[in-house]
Symmetry: C2
Subunit: 273 residues, 2 copies
DNA sequence: CGCCACTTTGAATTAGCTCAAATTCCGTGG
DNA sequence: CCACGGAATTTGAGCTAATTCAAAGTGGCG
């Protein structure tokens, strides 16, 4: 396991640091624990995506670009000029470090923006690769920038998208740092299903468009471990593989994935596997 | 080790995926490998920070808030209304998941903004905790939003800061996912030193304001492993501890840290440790 | 039909974790 | 100023989750 200590000793340490230092006011305002999927919230989110796309199309009349599996929308090092907003399809973001390490650092779905990483330095910091046929709106950053001044709704949409990305990236880091391998895979599936649900797509049956090696790379583990974890999830009945092929995963109950994660974190439960 | 495979089999897999799918155009535009620290770039960055702070102060005349070690600037779950820009000090961002896992997901220095995570949902997603005495500019988001329309420079600064945060978070994820423990600690120190250098502060001597437990939590490893890795770095002469106390770390040569990381990644080198 | 890439599963190995004990540091009060 | 106690750190020893290495199985596609 990566780090059980995080749920025990380290957590106590951090918590006590906060408690003593925050002058007794720490953690009285926690989010309501959202462990259950929320259909109403998903519908709202889906509608919000549709409205944002409509807004962008109306205000900016952007060019559209159709992509196919394997196409690069932009490439690390390339000069920044455009942002892209997905209307359909599925993308991965791949980072390449100076010393040659390569990693999938993000997954993107309909409504997500691509290219934020390029704003600060004038160069894109990663590759955006289509994993499937899809379409993006091509948005000139300077045009968007200018339009934002006159159209507050555009700026709101932009800021919201960047904010969401920041929050999501942190959740990713958290998953990698605090969950053991099995739970990480479960969390990955949960995130994917939730992402689909929030966009109004069916989420009980997802087609993994990534190989085990890519999933493992994204989650910080080997392809063998991904395979073993998926097998364990299937054995536990939390997921089902379609009869033919193992790229299609059925998720009868998303909440069961969350329970599985909790079960992985539980310290002293003797359930045979 | 977390994942040597990433540097071997998985990398080949990913690379070939890109190569075959990107129609032969993959990776011709890589960044220049920046393995060496760059004094000129640091100076430019430092000046840029100063200019941005000046701009914010002039245009928005923000309130200032002095903080001391342990103070919370904002708390997860709290209603969003302000962004904060650090003029001095040092902060950590702590995420708390719905199921109680807690993790340090970011470190912030002078010039960095705090609170972006709150824009999308109207609630902050993490705690921002001061690790030292410092000061932040308190910026009402609605005021900033309004001012951006008239002051393009403000919007540029805002977008740059968000973009930088997104890129940085991905580097974090990459470090955790692709580096073994020793290299991760080295990379952590390298990042810290670089962060100071880019702000015009001395970077050859840094005072770790975090316990081993916090560092380990941030890097996804235990406090014991952090301690062992630091000892190994000291034994290798890459860092030196101040005579009294082990919170002060001297870094005679930042580039030596990068070399150490490379050395950790090297597959078949038989150097005794 | 056969190749090739992907996946699964097993067995052995190891990096990092857990547990434990000794040491150092630092604030506090005598 | 020094003694004391609690917190943080270091280091060792054993354990275990995940990796590495290896081999067999499966499916898609020309």
């Amino acid at each position: 396991m990566l780090n059980t200590q995080i749920a025990t000793a380290a957590q106590v340490t951090l918590a006590s640091t906060l408690a003593t230092s925050a002058k007794g006011a720490a953690h009285t305002l926690l989010h309501a624990p959202v462990l259950k999927s929320d259909a109403a919230a998903n519908q709202r989110a889906s509608q919000h995506v549709a409205e944002t796309l409509k807004l962008l199309i109306e205000k900016l009349a952007p060019q559209r670009r159709v992509v196919h599996a394997g196409d690069l929308v932009y490439q690390g090092g390339e000069s920044f000029g455009h942002l892209y907003v997905m209307t359909s399809g599925f993308f991965k973001l791949v980072n390449l470090s100076a010393d040659g390490r390569e990693q999938v650092v993000g997954l993107k779905f309909r409504g997500d923006w691509l290219g934020f990483d390029g704003i600060a330095n004038g160069r894109y910091a990663c590759d955006a690769v289509a994993m499937d046929t899809g379409e993006v709106l091509v948005i000139r950053y300077d045009a968007l920038f200018a339009a934002c001044a006159a159209q507050p709704a555009l700026m709101t949409a932009l800021h919201e998208a960047m904010s969401r990305e920041i929050a999501r990236d942190r959740d990713s880091l958290m998953s990698v740092c605090t969950l053991p391998a099995d739970a990480r895979v479960a969390d990955f599936l949960r995130y994917w299903a939730e992402s689909l649900a929030r966009r109004g797509l069916r989420s009980d049956q997802i087609t993994l468009r990534m190989t085990r090696a890519e999933i493992g790379n994204y989650l910080g583990m080997t392809l063998e471990t991904v395979s073993r974890s998926l097998s364990k999830l299937a054995r536990a009945g939390v997921i089902l593989f379609a009869e033919k092929g193992r790229r299609d995963v059925q998720i009868p109950d998303v909440d069961a994935l969350s329970e599985f994660i909790q079960h992985c974190l539980a310290p002293a439960s003797a359930v045979l596997q």
